[in-house]
Structures are given as C-alpha cells and as structure tokens.
C-alpha cells in the first residue's frame, strides 16, 4: 500500500525546546492511525505539523520531511490554503463558528469558491450533514445558531464542516475528550464509516479508544515516536519496554 503521509527525520522546536525528535513514520491511506502517549509527549504537535497549524505560534522551527502525496509540506513555499483544504482538522473542543448551522457548513465552499449557486450550497449542506448523521435531527433548523447545539452535535457539525471541503486527510485532536461515553461511541462509529473515504489520524489520551478504532498505532514519549505498528501488535506484543509499561498503565 502506498503511504499517504511519509515522515522522514522530522524535528520540531518551540524556541529552544525540542518537541519532536527525529520522527519517522508511514501513514497509510484510508486507514485510521492512532497516536497515543502521555500529556506533553508531542502528539498534538505532530498532528499540527501535518496541516502547518504550528505556523500560528511564534518562534517555531521545523526540519526534516513530511511528504503528503509526494509533496514536502514542510517546504517554506507550500501553499497553506490548498494544504489545509486537503488536510482538515477536528479540534479537541468543538469550535463551530458563531454563525448558523447552514453557514458553518458552507463556510469552506464560500471561502474557496465565490459565487456558488444557492442550490449547490443546499446540496453540500444536506450531503455533509447526512454523512455525519445529523441531517434528520437538524434539517428543519438549519438557520439556528450552531452555538445552540449539544457538544456532540457541535463536534459532528465540525466534522461535517470539514467534509464539505472534501479533504483527503482528517486530523483529529482528541475529538471525543469533551464528550460523554455514549456520544463518544457514536462519534467512533462515525469515524469507522469515514475511514472508507478518508485517511484519518487521531490523537487520543484514551488507549481503549485507540485499540477500538485504529488500524495502526504510534506511541510517543517525550517527543520521540517510540513504536509504530499495527494496533493489535502494539497492544498485544509491544516490542519496546516503554510501550508495554504505558499500555499496561504503569505510567501516563
């Protein structure tokens, strides 16, 4: 299988602090890859390298290579707009815009193409909401403020908003950490469905979640990628002592 994302010798600094140390990994296409590890291990930072969200922080430095579809996105001349169109992100706290549900979903379409016809926008809204299983709940209230939704609905809406842009890759930064167990189960179900069309990388604190939904898992510790393998191997036959200690709950 051709890797969707290839990471070669990736180093990353916040000022003088090195947050990622010589990361090498291959992320397969249309597969869910989970990144686990204790707080501060650099898993979110790595995720934010893939869509260059770290650029918002001052004084950061990235070296190495991250190839997405054979293009090195670390290069300074990378077109961030098209990169972020291709590599979407779902955040830890659902962050719908303070606009209507409808406007949230057509946001991407509107910023990338001006003057889209209304009926096409309507189609995008319906399709995107259906793909996150919100259409039946919300179809009569599309003009309601997105801020009035429940947490789970908000997070689904954020995923729908992302899907509307038609990305290839979905980066999910602890997408369920604010949700209750039932809502988490439903969002995980959704992720399994999305896997058919998208390459998904999920950062999670929750090891059981990683075991439940992912095909590949990477374990990170203090900025290093300790082990990266098939999920069942990581959880049943970890090669590294530190991985074993983490998944058996000796620390973390």
């Amino acid at each position: 299988m051709i890797p969707k994302i290839t990471v070669n010798n990736l180093d990353f600094w916040y000022g003088n602090f090195q947050a990622l140390k010589n990361i090498n990994a291959l992320f397969k296409e249309k597969v869910i890859t989970a990144i686990i590890g204790p707080s501060g291990c650099g898993k979110s930072t790595m995720l934010r390298v893939f869509n260059r969200m770290n650029d918002l922080v001052e004084g950061v430095r990235t070296t190495g290579e991250v190839l997405i579809d054979a293009e090195n996105i670390i290069a300074p001349d990378t077109d961030l707009v098209s990169l972020r169109k291709k590599v979407g992100m779902v955040f830890q706290r659902p962050n719908p815009f303070p606009l209507s549900i409808y406007e949230n979903i057509v946001f991407g379409e509107k910023i990338h193409y001006s003057g889209t016809r209304r009926d096409k926008l309507d189609g995008i809204v319906e399709e995107s909401l259906k793909s996150v299983l919100l259409w039946d709940e919300l179809k009569d209230n599309l003009n309601k403020s997105a801020l009035s939704l429940s947490l789970e609905q908000k997070q689904r809406l954020c995923i729908a908003r992302l899907i509307a842009v038609k990305p290839d890759i979905l980066l999910m930064d602890e997408p369920c950490s604010t949700l209750d167990p039932q809502a988490t189960a439903r969002v995980e179900e959704l992720m399994r469905e999305l896997k058919n069309n998208y390459t998904i990388i999920i950062v999670t604190h929750n090891m059981q979640q990683a075991a439940r939904i992912s095909d590949d898992t990477g374990f990170m510790l203090l900025g290093e990628l300790i082990e990266f393998a098939r999920t069942e191997d990581i959880f049943t036959r970890p090669k590294d002592k530190r991985t074993e200690d983490y998944i058996t709950g000796r620390y973390g």
Binding site: F97, G108, I111, R161, V165
Partner: protein, 287 residues
C-alpha cells in the same frame, strides 16, 4: 461591636454606590424643572422643529431644529470618518500588528484620548480650518466638515480601544477553525472574527458617537457657530452643545432664553442617554 462595625461599613458603601444614581436623577430633575418652563411660551413641537433660533429678538424665536441638524451633521460626518478608520485600526492592532507595533499604537491611542478637547480645537483652528478653506475654496473654513474631522479624532480612541477589546476576546478557536479549513487570514477575520465581535464593535461605535455628540469646546471653536439649517457639510453650523456653552453666560436668569438653554440640555441628555443604553444593550448581548 464587630457586628455594628460591619453594619456601618456596609451601609456606608451602599450610600456611596447609590450616590451616582442619586446624582444622575437629581441632575435630570433639575434640568427638567428649569427646562420645562420654556414650554409655557413655546410648544414642544415648535421648540423642536422651529426653524429659527433668535433667542434675543423681540419676540424671541426659540426653534432648535438648526441646532439639532447642526449636531447631527457634524456627528454624522465624524462617524463616517472615524468608524472605518477606527475599526480598521482595531483590526490591525488585534490581528495583524507585531507585538512591539501593537504596544506603540496602543499607547499612541491612549495619548490621543488624553489630549484636552480645547487643545484639539485649537490645533484644528490653525490647521484643519485653513486647510478646508483652501481645498474647498470656501469663504471660511469654519464649517461642519472641519468640526467632523476634528471630532473624528476624538471618537477614534473610544472606537479603537473598545473594538480592539471585542476582537481580542473572540475565542482563538474560531480563528484556528477558520484557518484549518483553508481560510486566508483576511477571510478568517471578516467571515468569522468580525461577526463574532460585531456586538462589541457596535457598542464601540455607539460610545464613540456618544462622545462626539456631547463634545462642546472643540466644536464651538471650529464649526463657525451660525444657527442656520445647514444645506451642505461645507457650511458653518452650530451644535446643541456649543449653543449652551456660548449663550449661557449672557442669558438673563429666569428669561425664556435661559429656560430654552436648559431645554436644549434635556434634549442632549436624552440623546446621549439613548446612545449609551443602546451601546449597553449591544455589550450585554455579547455575553
């Protein structure tokens, strides 16, 4: 003993807290008591919509429409100038400027707010007035336009600092979300951050306008003070505030003229009260 002490302190603070409300109420009542007398000689309708203000002719003509229009025209002009510049400046400070530039701009704007209005008026008189006169080929530069430009400077600090605050308090996650969808910085600002900060920005604009409409000294010095209904922004006008300030000294206590000036005070009070309440509504809607 301790209880009594607590009680006394509590009540003392209460009295201080109520004092401001008490003073506002007393000021309004006093204005009302003095101002209402004018309506014994002129009907409220004629007072508000009368077209001539000749308070010392015989009989006195006490129509304040030219003054209201003068105030509105100067305020409108100042708003047209200060709102776009002020909001753009707030966007620049909140979103674009690098840290050190931000500090410089912020203290510059604070300084602008600290200049006494009479000094601004004086500077306007020797710079803006001749400038307006030459550029527009007018017989005199003392005009509504000069006043508007000057007042725009006074409204700017209020508009910039409150609008900047509103933009700053927009959750960072909105901006991140927009950028992560591939929005450019400007798209994130105008499609997400400005709508999110809109009520705060509206409040900033209202408070800026409130400052303009209540301003007296600078307008009196540079608007020319002729109480006629203005037909263009290039004409001299006289505002409500300047009328009170200029004429109160000469008006005979207890005369119609004297009461009419108080009635103008009531009109001003109502206008600025309305503006402040609106601004407050916007500010609270945000929360």
């Amino acid at each position: 003993m301790r209880k009594i002490k607590e009680f006394i302190i509590e009540k003392l603070i209460l009295v201080c807290g109520l004092a401001s409300i008490f003073f506002v109420a007393m000021i309004f009542l006093f204005l009302l008591k003095e101002g209402m007398n004018v309506f014994q000689t002129v009907s409220p309708f004629k007072f508000l919509f009368g077209k001539s203000w000749y308070p010392i002719s015989e009989p006195a003509q006490l129509g304040i429409l030219p003054l209201i229009l003068g105030s509105l025209l100067v305020t409108f002009g100042a708003a047209v100038i200060s709102i776009p510049i002020g909001v753009a400046c707030a966007i620049y400070i909140a979103e674009v400027a690098p840290q050190n530039m931000k500090e410089i701009l912020k203290s510059g704007i604070e300084l602008l707010a600290a200049i006494p209005s009479v000094v601004l008026g004086f500077i306007g008189m020797v710079t803006i007035v001749p400038w307006v006169k030459n550029i527009c080929h007018l017989p005199t530069g003392l005009s509504a336009l000069s006043g508007s430009i000057m007042l725009a400077f006074m409204a700017m600090p209020t508009i910039v600092s409150i609008a900047e605050d509103a933009l700053y308090s927009v959750p960072k996650s909105y901006k991140e979300g927009a950028l992560a969808l591939g929005a450019t910085h400007w798209q994130a600002i105008h499609r997400v951050m400005l709508p999110a900060a809109s009520s705060g920005i509206l409040a900033a604009v209202m408070l800026g306008i409130g400052r303009v409409i209540g301003e007296t000294m600078a307008v009196m010095m540079i608007t020319g003070n002729s109480a006629v209904i203005p037909h263009s922004i290039l004409q001299p006008v006289r505002t409500l505030t300047a009328t009170i300030a200029a004429e109160m000294g000469e008006a005979v206590v207890g005369s119609e003229h004297y009461f009419a000036l108080f009635a103008i005070g009531i009109v001003l009070f109502i206008i600025s009260f309305a503006i402040n309440v609106t601004a407050d509504l916007f500010l609270h809607k945000k929360r």
